[in-house]
Symmetry: C2
Subunit: 219 residues, 2 copies
DNA sequence: CGAAGCAACCTAACACTGTCAAGATGCTTG
DNA sequence: CAAGCATCTTGACAGTGTTAGGTTGCTTCG
């Protein structure tokens, strides 16, 4: 890598006072997210994070059991932000199709406006190394985010009967459709995309039309 | 990592004869893909690949300029396989909707049957480190694969007029929709998915309905 | 005020990683 | 048989995540 400037003792941050270790934790997470945004999840080392925070690198292990634990915490926090964004949505009165499009748009905009968080949340290759199954998966922020989509589909179902299909499957299709667009837009910025605004609208209308029945879609 | 068995000289492969260096190249790629399938892209080291092939680890650098070059070659080859799969498709006569669903299904099945290849092709975080732009991007296998989707949408457009929207954007929506489902199914095997067959059919019908116009979809 | 206790933090070291430099080996052709 | 060169090796370097063990210095209690 060969960094130019001096590597020896770069402006250490003053030692935290006795009960304030939590502050360090937050600083670590903040710097980690910032660096990941610049260099990608794989491009950031614990030494770089520690140097940005202003502590020695093994000190990280006083706050996190491993490097992956830092990423995982960012992962969970990203989902919390997503859930907040979805919950803050208040539909403007109008056609069901437009309302559905608006709601799905919240997901897309979240991803595009917080690409670092979205990357960490969805696009890390954590798989292939089997992790011990977590105690209560439904408590994880990721599941709570999906619950919002499930709930949205169910509401549409009640409010006039959506396209005849398992609502659970429909919600998963919605999620897959949204994730596909967002992840590709983030991961492949060099692809010759169509004009972004039109592309997103087309995609969301396509998805919404698939979930709504024909009457709702036409209304 | 701490491997049990002996590390010193584990059954070297005999030296290739003079013009046969290409064989080694293929062996390296094969072992690399196999190991990546087992342990994930990040979980495989050049030393592990070299040991599996039966050569010393720096020997890899006689065939590839870097570790990433190995992954990238696998990446391109995965797309070639995808293009082949798409090109081999011959529709069974029937309704336009069913034909479209069948065609999209080729993409999904390819991803699910070749998860290693699909991972390497689509789900590696190659971004964030800006690569020098390739000379002719349209020559890359990835682009050729997308061309197939573009062509499919255009055919539908001619054969009766698809949903009114930019065909290019529609093709990109299709791709995003397909990729979303495949990548999530591969990356999140522990998610409480709906029954897979029904899920895929629901998703593909949703996408196809979005591209076809109402008459075609109903026919 | 002084001393105990412990949170906060550090240095040193380990096994691993990708990559480079320089040399040895041995098939193949003249 | 000898030259030439593709093939492959050993050795080293700087980087990585992680652990062990020791030091610092704030805080609280006697």
């Amino acid at each position: 890598m060969s960094i130019e400037f001096s590597r020896t003792s770069v402006s250490r941050s003053p030692r935290k006072r006795k009960g304030q270790g939590g502050e360090r934790r937050e600083e670590i997470l903040a710097e980690a997210l910032r660096l990941i945004g610049e260099r990608g999840v794989q491009g950031v080392s614990t030494r770089q994070i520690a140097e940005a925070v202003g502590i020695s690198q093994p000190s990280l292990y006083a706050y996190f059991p491993s490097r992956d634990a830092i990423v995982e915490e960012l992962h969970d926090r990203a989902f919390v932000l997503l859930v907040q964004a979805l919950d803050q949505f208040r539909p403007t009165p109008g056609k069901p199709l437009e309302q559905a499009v608006e709601y799905l748009r919240v997901y897309v905009d979240f991803g595009l406006q917080n690409p670092d968080a979205y990357r960490v949340a969805f696009m890390i290759e954590g798989a292939a190394k089997p992790k011990p199954p977590v105690a209560d998966p439904s408590a994880k922020p990721a599941m709570q985010a999906f619950d919002r989509l499930r709930e949205a589909v169910r509401t549409l179902h009640l409010n006039g009967g959506a396209y005849k299909a398992d609502p659970e499957a429909l919600a998963q299709c919605l999620w897959a459709g949204l994730h596909g667009l967002v992840s590709l837009l983030i991961a492949r910025p060099n692809f010759p995309w169509a004009e972004r605004e039109a592309l997103i609208r087309t995609h969301l209308i396509l998805l919404a039309r698939g979930v709504l029945n024909d009457d709702q879609a036409a209304a």
